[in-house]
Subunit: 96 residues, 2 copies
DNA sequence: CAAACATATGAATAAGTGTTCATATGTAAA
DNA sequence: TTTACATATGAACACTTATTCATATGTTTG
């Protein structure tokens, strides 16, 4: 058995969380799944910028999507996302 | 009461984890507290590079240090560090 | 106090990255 | 099959950042 994880991969995963635009997208999706334009509007970002970031989130399996008519609905891939975010929050809260 | 966390701060925290040098340092410290030169040797990094990264880890309260004679011993600040690392590992392991 | 050892720091450089702009792809409606 | 809508993509630019090199700070030993 080989449970070993490449530390580089681990760093790459955290790198995804290390951008405030992506964090804000994840938080939005934590509340409700939504399409690209809705995210862009709510976060006051360009449609292009959101799309670029969603691609990165998807590649890292943090979000998934499905087509629904014209639009594409994005949603969180699993609950690791919210767990990881919570751990980060806790660390910040205790460091006050 | 205000439990709110600035999402930018959260991103900044994860940014710290998003570098393989820092992750490797944290993993070494997870096994045993150590001084700068030992880390540099074991990780095959410059003493300067290690020192620079330790400074960032310290600023973010992920590690602490104490002086012991000539050398300065670094160690993990709390167990959030290992918890956060574990969450990341789990996500990677399940995505296979 | 001087020499040796351990760590920290600052400037410079190279590599990586997020956003914007323009445009392409793909889907639904007329 | 045009037209309009929703999203994706690629190139360019500005910005951040990790490492290296040289050197400074601080501690112990002779």
């Amino acid at each position: 058995m080989d449970n070993a994880i490449l530390l580089g991969d681990l760093a790459d995963l955290f790198k995804v969380f290390g951008d405030s635009s992506r964090i804000r997208i994840l938080y939005e999706l934590l509340e409700a799944e939504s399409c690209v334009n809705d995210l862009a509007q709510r976060l006051d970002m360009t449609q292009s910028a959101v799309s670029h970031q969603l691609k990165i989130l998807k590649m890292n399996k943090l979000v998934n999507n499905r087509r629904e008519g014209k639009q594409i609905i994005y949603f969180l891939a699993d609950d690791h996302v919210s767990t990881i975010l919570s751990m980060g929050r806790e660390h910040l809260l205790e460091g006050r």
